[in-house]
């Protein structure tokens, strides 16, 4: 039976906090083949930290998101798409606050007859001065196991 996800639309998630440590920023840059920070921006983290915040800043784990979406054994979680807006700097060695809400859900039948459900989560990232530094809208896809 296909889960009914409409109940999730508009649900606020706990959000949370995130600290970007300088050493973590450096390690992540290396893992992602990012170029060195441009001159004068050595104190700034890469915008990929908005993506990091979109996952860690929901205030629930990916496993808990899967539970909300009634993911079952044999279902596969996929990352469908993302909309990122950067509106401010992301200095390292600084603390950030995030808010999160499920803005939409959906379901469609694929050509092979399987069901692909979607859960859309908006995470907003606020800087140390509480000004918005960016937002990320992520679409999580749940490919349901076929019988």
């Amino acid at each position: 039976m296909t889960p009914q996800l409409d109940r999730l639309r508009g649900r606020e998630l706990p959000g949370g906090t995130l600290r970007i440590e300088g050493y973590q920023s450096a390690i992540l840059d290396r893992a992602l083949h990012a170029p060195a920070p441009p001159p004068g921006e050595e104190h700034l983290a890469s915008p990929v930290w908005l993506v990091v915040a979109s996952l860690r800043g929901m205030g629930i784990t990916v496993d808990e998101l899967c539970e909300l979406a009634e993911k079952r054994a044999g279902d596969t979680l996929l990352f469908g798409g993302v909309d990122i807006a950067q509106t401010g700097d992301l200095p390292v060695d600084a603390d950030y606050r995030t808010t999160a809400v499920i803005t939409d859900v959906g379901s469609r039948t694929m050509r092979d007859g399987s069901t692909l459900d979607s859960v859309v989560v908006l995470v907003s990232v606020l800087g140390p001065d509480d000004s918005e530094r960016g937002s990320v809208t992520s679409t999580y896809l749940f490919k349901r196991r076929t019988a």
Partner: protein, 142 residues
């Protein structure tokens, strides 16, 4: 990668290409830790096979997207230049894959202090499969 000069940017300008050679299993694991992403398709080959995704670890979509972000940041010369980025994930990138990132300027708008370049962007596996397609708005300081 060469930095953009606002005088040289116009509709049709190709962004400098960027290639990530051999996506590393260890880097996928690092990203799983940073993202606190427990999805086993990134580190458990049994889970990868069970999901019918092949026999190599799956790179995080966010990591492949980061290759695009890095190319745009490098082109613009600033970590705050990518004002927006919209991306759709159409195929997986796996451990060991090479990934080619590129883009094209589709519109240029004069704004205070420089230009806002609208771009089509993409990330392809070097076997020709498109992993990411999207659009970006990038501020280029004048």
């Amino acid at each position: 990668m060469s930095r953009a000069s606002t005088g040289d940017v116009a509709v049709g300008t190709e962004l400098p290409g960027r290639t990530v050679h051999g996506v590393s299993v260890d880097h996928i694991a690092v990203m799983a830790l940073v993202l606190q992403d427990s999805n086993p398709i990134h580190w458990d080959l049994d889970a990868v096979r069970s999901a019918r995704l092949g026999d190599r670890e799956v790179n995080q979509g966010g990591s492949t997207l980061a290759y695009v972000q890095a190319a745009l940041v490098d082109w613009a010369g600033s970590r705050t230049a990518v004002r927006s980025l919209t991306a759709r994930f159409s195929a997986n990138v796996f451990a060991g894959d090479d990934v080619l990132v590129g883009g094209t300027v589709t519109a240029v708008t004069s704004v205070d202090g420089g230009l806002l370049a609208s771009c089509d962007v993409w990330a392809d596996r070097t076997d020709g499969v498109r992993a990411i397609s999207g659009t970006a708005e990038v501020f280029l300081r004048g």
